[in-house]
Symmetry: C2
Amino acid sequence: MSEPYNEEREAFLRVAESGRAAAAELAPLPRAAKDAALHAVADALVARADEIVKANAGDVARAREAGTSEAMIDRLALTRERVEAVAAAVRKVAALPDPVGETVRGYVLPNGLSVQQVRVPLGVVGIIYEGRPNVTVDAAALCLKSGNVALLRGSSSAVDSNTALVAIMQDALRGTAVPQDAVQRVPGTSRESVKHLMRARGLVDVLIPRGGASLISSVVQESTVPVIETGVGNCSVYVDESADLDMALAILVNAKTQRPSVCNAAETVLIHANVADRFLPRALAALKEKGVTVHGDALVRAYSPDVVAATEDDWYAEYLSLDIAARVVPTLDEAVAHIRRYGSGHTEAIITDSQPAARRFVALVDSAAVMVNASTRFTDGEEFGFGAEIGISTQKLHARGPMGLPELTSTKYVVTGEGHTRG
Amino acid sequence: MSEPYNEEREAFLRVAESGRAAAAELAPLPRAAKDAALHAVADALVARADEIVKANAGDVARAREAGTSEAMIDRLALTRERVEAVAAAVRKVAALPDPVGETVRGYVLPNGLSVQQVRVPLGVVGIIYEGRPNVTVDAAALCLKSGNVALLRGSSSAVDSNTALVAIMQDALRGTAVPQDAVQRVPGTSRESVKHLMRARGLVDVLIPRGGASLISSVVQESTVPVIETGVGNCSVYVDESADLDMALAILVNAKTQRPSVCNAAETVLIHANVADRFLPRALAALKEKGVTVHGDALVRAYSPDVVAATEDDWYAEYLSLDIAARVVPTLDEAVAHIRRYGSGHTEAIITDSQPAARRFVALVDSAAVMVNASTRFTDGEEFGFGAEIGISTQKLHARGPMGLPELTSTKYVVTGEGHTRG
């Protein structure tokens, strides 16, 4: 704390310290109190939708002036209908079970001590995110339900929307048992303001960056606060020599084209050499029909002049677009080696009718999710039945894969005795 | 990787990269292969005990020359009997269940997809530790059993012992299915050599520092590799107004004096004002008899001239000695506030016969373990029935409290379909 005086940093520390105090109040609240607060938030969002749309219009106007693409502007824009959908999502979170207080393990030791491992909130959660202002409300609702304080650091492009949304949520909380400081915006829009959050070890319990690869990698490198890495996905589909090729084609097209802009879309296809002749002509035609550019190795390029030559960068690429890298591999183990080298550890799929091949792929591929005869697109909190998702972790510590409410908790051991001392 | 050439760093990178390669081989090994390797290690330690004792004699001689206390030398010294005890501990780890492959959750979604969350190794685990050379073997055995590669960075004071122990373990692994690179010593003894480990994000999956507060805090501050904080314990015993005072006395004396040098020993006692008159004279006499120096606030000092005046530092202190800080508090909530402010989040105990008091203390105290009518000394992997312990986490992410074999794992989702695509 011996750094020179910095107004933005002081403002941040006030936010973080009031957040810490709010966390102590919020943690022991019963489910009913948290659900009532969530409904109050949802009510307020609907009641004040016009205010939100008006604030959002400022962000949209600035984005347009800056020459932002219409696709990006569509992501940014809020209408009354969209605000109502955001409020409905908050009510859905209220309806989910409360993870706090759940006994994860419980047993009695031979000496009579009763040991219970119980879920508790993490405390103060910092969320750093880009783009859509609905994340402001989604993240706040998930944190609040799991007993955590949310410190929200959205994109500067959505600052007016986010300011309005947080102010309305805080106003709504004022009439509830949840302290209004449980939801706060991190002050400032500069890159420096993110740094304050990343250096707030002791005040902030965990940071969750949600956004592009460069945002996530800079947070991971610079943060002294523990980070949960999310969402970068260079997902592969491996078509085994024993694949049902109709199934493989349907899954490949789905994984690549059903929603190319998301992290669980396929970015690479690996084809066993023994089925290349039968699979690749059909696959390349089907991908072309969907407007996909294939970046292939020499073996793939032999099947079509439309295939662009792949460079080393293509194997690493998270395109998030109608592009896919393609390679013919001599063995399943070579597919695994490719994935180990270039993959991001998000989701990989094998298409095979061979039980030994499926078993080997599952055992050797070290990713958050491994799909057997299913599209990579299923790695998703909603699809997994979690009811909500704060992100998809691609790290191994704490949480891996889609994170729902339980992943926003820690545990504590509660040990009860009758005067037990250690001999 | 644009840093200037540094021999120690290059040596470290060779270790870390061979460790990564070994991790891929080790992860899918079945339990029998890992257990056989552990028994081979135990056999080799016993067979080559003389070599180990001889290497250790070098460390002991250097420590003596450096004027190290006999207590510290006793911690460092290895005898044949101690080596046999270390080998026996390895066999005990072999007998524990294998956490890898355990299905944590498993269910079938409405669309027929089968989802299984399965335990997998973390990968490459770095352990930074001080003092006793037995940790070299203990940590390696726990990592190996849980399918993880161990990169060991012990204290420079035990470098000869650790070098011998790692060489013997590697020789033993050579005849097994476990790659010998699964257990390696981090080269170098300088402080710089620790830095290489802390900056090896991508090569090392997690760092576990085991040792004093300053070691842990420097690792936490400087590491870009995810860290699990362990072992700093400023533990408090709170004697409630409804306490059975005989029980409170027995627990306080046990928590403070049964083994003062460990992290779960009590460092602070908080006494409700309503029982101060009845409790403190007895407690101060009992502590004095055990040779404990009490650092008290003015209210405590009123009961005995032996009580030293406590300073702000005493409330924060992890003495690890026959010292204790003592304070009279007007309410249970003040005890909780004291713990929140000064505690390290390790273990706190309440002594009370009041169910509402116990419930409130458990709900409000945010520590890895909360004891009701039991000594803080029970926060321990062995006591909790884990069979072994790699450390006690005082952080909230990933693991909190005593860490056994399951805490050395991550999970992955295995999703099996029949050609499922997303609509």
